[in-house]
Symmetry: C2
Subunit: 385 residues, 2 copies
């Protein structure tokens, strides 16, 4: 019995060899799962995070506990690693710039700065002919009153920066809600968006490697509870044509950003009799994404490995589904007793090792494997590179 | 969209909760992959190993660098963990006994002592009506000469203890090879076995939980090069009836040992016209096993998670294949350039993070995913518990 062993072809740049160190800013569950993926490929990991009990520390080779504007700590971190990435988009862009003087940072500071600011993000998307909800910039209560009158319907005030899980958002049903909404965002620079009467929320995890090749996973259907992702189903129950369009849209974004790594693109699907399915981009997350956790158990290559492959200079892996999947987030005390999940034969359990189960805190997730609904390839890799 | 969330049923003993610490003796790739599986389930890990550059340290929460007869270090280790296991069978049984005074040790010292000694192992197997190659005990060169004459054909001298990857073995084609063979084993207490003219080597990874439930993965076909496992194919190309018999045999062994955890059972398949397929057990490894690495990428539950589930008091996971698989070990310099493997779409790469690529050293493995050859369940779980 012999097995085929392929021979090497020269590529440039050379991928990082095993035992190289991947530096990760942020020590939450995304950093933890990135570190796990890096370890499986033989990389060492170094986590930089401000919280001394960061769950990613448990499985990292090395750690730095410091705030993101500690320049001495950032420089020492850069010197200790071979490539740098991050698990969340609120890393100060100044830190990313500083680190990039020493080591490659992926995704780059440009992608980070676009994703950090809802206004920049929308301008970027619209420049690339990608539809977003109609929006206006808001810098004062007067502007908010005025613009909400102009919208003439329900709309949502969103801070330009640091919003996640519904934080920094307020809905306005009429201009009379303006003062309350302005209080909610504490006077922060914001945008006002028309409320989109969507059919469902979907998202696509896309990726791009250092050679310009791109891939995308099946679009998922996401349900939120209290503004926090509760369930993702892959694939989303949408027309194959809409699936393909959603993935193509996400790939357009990574190409436009000259992006390296994994990105999450959230979209509203709006159904209209006249125009069919419209896809309106709600948010881009320049990182691995909660709605892509199903790929850990139901895709040939999971999003964490994919991200590590991309940033270390390897080719992308296969994004095909191996099963349909339903991913449930375990929030707060929902992860206290995992026994019932362990007893279900086709359920995969993931616990993030967080000590304290605060309300609204993501403690783990489970993925139910379902029969593969069709043999259609989810996101063939186009080797542009 | 709502998702079914099961409710808990009381079970005894209570499984270890997340954030409990799994102590692992041994810091090689098996310990590393066990630590990875434990982390995914939210457990902390503490690795105890003598080598300061043990690859498992990279992803462990805590580590102890000490030899296995350092009683102070063993006691401190036991006090720091909630359950103890090991990644290799040459842990001194005295250490296992000592640790068991403080914390549960799985598999227990009895399983360890049986598996550590080829003679005890064969007596145990034969007592349970499991066939092994005919053997004789050898304590002197005289005995070796005498017994090899009695065997009247090719036979193999094997040390009773500390043999692995063909170490501590010597083949005798005739009694005239006795002196050379005795030199090879350096006069260690040994057994002499008739050489088995086998059709193929197969192995089964079986498991048993703390409630007495058992499961087994598909038997694999193993090929060795220089006595080191080179390729495992799952499932082995054998008759369904032989598959079933091989799995049942491995399950009989875990039941007989009152075993908790994952076990590897190596067998010779001998084909005879008169008797059909005979299965002769060659070795049992009381731990996760190299021939089970394919389960990481091609089974619902991999052997590492399975072992962690069993020892932490959780129920076993599903052992079904999700694909057929071909696992290739990467030995010595074969893991130097992984690029070609990264470019194959359905290949999963695993690198163990070892710094030095010594000849014969297991550096990593890759698993090729192949189309699922049939829908037959591989090893349904029988809930005895």
């Amino acid at each position: 019995m012999t097995a085929h062993r392929p021979t090497s072809k020269p590529t440039a740049p050379r991928p990082l060899p095993p035992l190289s160190t991947v530096g990760i800013l942020g020590g939450g569950q995304l950093g933890r799962m990135l570190a796990g993926a890096a370890a499986r490929l033989g990389f060492r990991t170094h986590i930089f995070a401000p919280e001394k009990d960061s769950p990613a520390f448990d499985i990292a080779t090395a750690k730095t506990v410091a705030v993101y504007d500690d320049e001495t700590a950032l420089d020492a971190f850069a010197a200790a690693v071979d490539v740098i990435t991050y698990e969340f988009e609120n890393v100060p862009v100044e830190a990313a710039f500083r680190l990039a003087h020493h080591r490659p940072v992926f995704p780059d500071a440009n992608a980070l700065s676009v994703a950090q600011d809802r206004l920049k993000e929308r301008i970027f998307l619209n420049n690339w002919d990608i539809e977003t909800a109609p929006h206006a910039t808001i810098d004062s209560l007067d502007a908010l009153v005025c613009e909400s009158e102009a919208f003439n319907g329900p709309c949502v005030l969103k801070t330009r920066r640091f919003g996640y899980d519904g934080k920094g958002q307020a809905k306005l049903n009429s201009p009379s809600d303006a003062a309350r909404a302005w209080e909610t965002v504490a006077g922060a620079r914001s945008i006002l968006e028309a409320f989109v009467p969507f059919e469902m929320e979907i998202s696509v995890i896309a990726c791009r490697d250092r050679y310009g090749a791109t891939a995308a996973y099946a679009a998922t259907h996401n349900t939120h509870v209290n503004h926090i992702l509760s369930v993702s189903r892959a694939p989303a129950p949408i027309a194959p044509e809409t699936q393909a369009r959603a993935r193509a849209l996400a790939v357009r974004i990574v190409d436009a950003l000259n992006y390296v790594g994994v990105i999450g693109v959230e979209m509203f699907l709006v159904r209209s009799k006249e125009e069919g399915d419209r896809l309106i981009v709600n948010e881009i997350a320049p990182r691995v994404h909660n709605s892509g956790h199903w790929t850990l158990d139901a895709a040939v290559t999971d999003q964490f490995e994919q991200h590590i492959r991309a940033i270390t200079g390897h080719h992308l892996g296969d994004t095909k589904r191996t099963a349909d999947a339903e991913m449930l987030n375990l929030i707060g005390d929902e992860a206290e007793d995992l026994t019932p999940f362990f007893s279900e034969p086709r359920v995969k359990v993931h616990h993030y090792g967080k000590a304290e189960a605060r309300p609204g805190r993501k403690m783990g997730h489970v993925t139910r494997l379902l029969p593969l609904s069709n043999g259609r390839p989810d996101g063939s890799i186009s080797r542009n590179g």
